[in-house]
Symmetry: C2
Subunit: 189 residues, 2 copies
């Protein structure tokens, strides 16, 4: 008997009820509002952890992909919101790089990335990272963020990725609090 050699990762079915794929997103606030709304809906609908992400074309303002945390339902510790958004964006453009075609793309995430997702952001080819809640907000409800600190962000910046933090932190942190208060699973390895 050979072990499993293939797996499928998917977003919840409600995504299309929440996401307007035709909309043009003009401001950081509009873009982050979507990431935070995804994190909130993921909690309310019980389809994963309190984290949402979205990737946009920086110039056109069009949405490329979205991601929500799918760790528990998908039996997959790597299925964080950022990783889902990155993997799906790469499927959409049919490339392992979100900058190979010369189009500048940006990742919005409802919470600062853990060590894995920060590394994943580097490999994805996005040229901008915008975060809402802080790693400390995630730690405050029991999530481990791994080895990620100021020097990790400096590494991104040195690689040419613009980083903007604390955009709509309070709204995103409210979702974290709601998840924790509702007894949401904290799934550290």
């Amino acid at each position: 008997m050979s072990a499993v050699q293939q797996l499928t990762l998917s977003l919840p079915k409600w995504i299309n009820d929440v996401v307007d794929w035709q909309k043009v997103y003009n401001t950081d606030d509009e873009k982050m509002a979507l990431a935070v709304e995804l994190s909130k809906q993921n909690v309310l609908r019980g389809t994963g952890g309190p984290f949402g992400s979205a990737i946009f074309d920086c110039v056109s303002g069009k949405l490329v992909s979205v991601g929500v945390n799918r760790v528990v339902p998908m039996h997959n510790s790597t299925a964080h919101g950022e990783m889902m958004a990155i993997m799906l964006a790469e499927q959409n453009v049919q490339s392992f790089s979100l900058s190979a075609d010369g189009i500048k793309r940006e990742l919005f995430t409802s919470c600062e990335p853990c060590a894995m997702c920060l590394g994943g952001t580097l490999w994805s080819g996005v040229k901008r990272l915008v975060c809402a809640a802080t790693a400390d907000d995630a730690r405050a409800i029991g999530f481990d963020e791994g080895p990620v600190n100021a020097s990790s962000y400096q590494y991104l910046t040195d690689a040419g990725i613009e980083v903007l933090r604390l955009v709509q932190r309070d709204a995103a942190n409210k979702v974290l609090q709601h998840y924790a208060n509702g007894g949401g699973e904290i799934y550290n390895g």
Copy 2:
């Protein structure tokens, strides 16, 4: 039109020609030999980058999953060998944690993990990480490893993960060299 919301990740078809799923692996050398062989076959057969991984049950010595780098063929910058092995092992045990059932498992990788995979190792629940080639060996042929350093490894150790490095480094590094000399794609973001 809505964007792609599902994706599939798979190992190459040759895996079952190379992997003996029934074998009991008794030593670190036997286990690492498999990870390095996977990295080598992945290069020879042109199915991805020069990196292989395998996850074992520490007590029984049985193989739980294997992974090879699938970044270019799968259009997925996160499909590193370690990530593939982790995701597939979790599918096999049907849990987001490789330690939730009380069984101790270990990840063998042909090259020290990049920042993303080191974070992913933490979330996976493996209790032991064994590496062959060094991050510097990978950097020497042009791969970026991201923000990973001594403090990253200390974080793993502090989390209760035993780390062993430089096991069969030369054999693994030969595969990296062979890949680079053959003009293999270096796919940094």
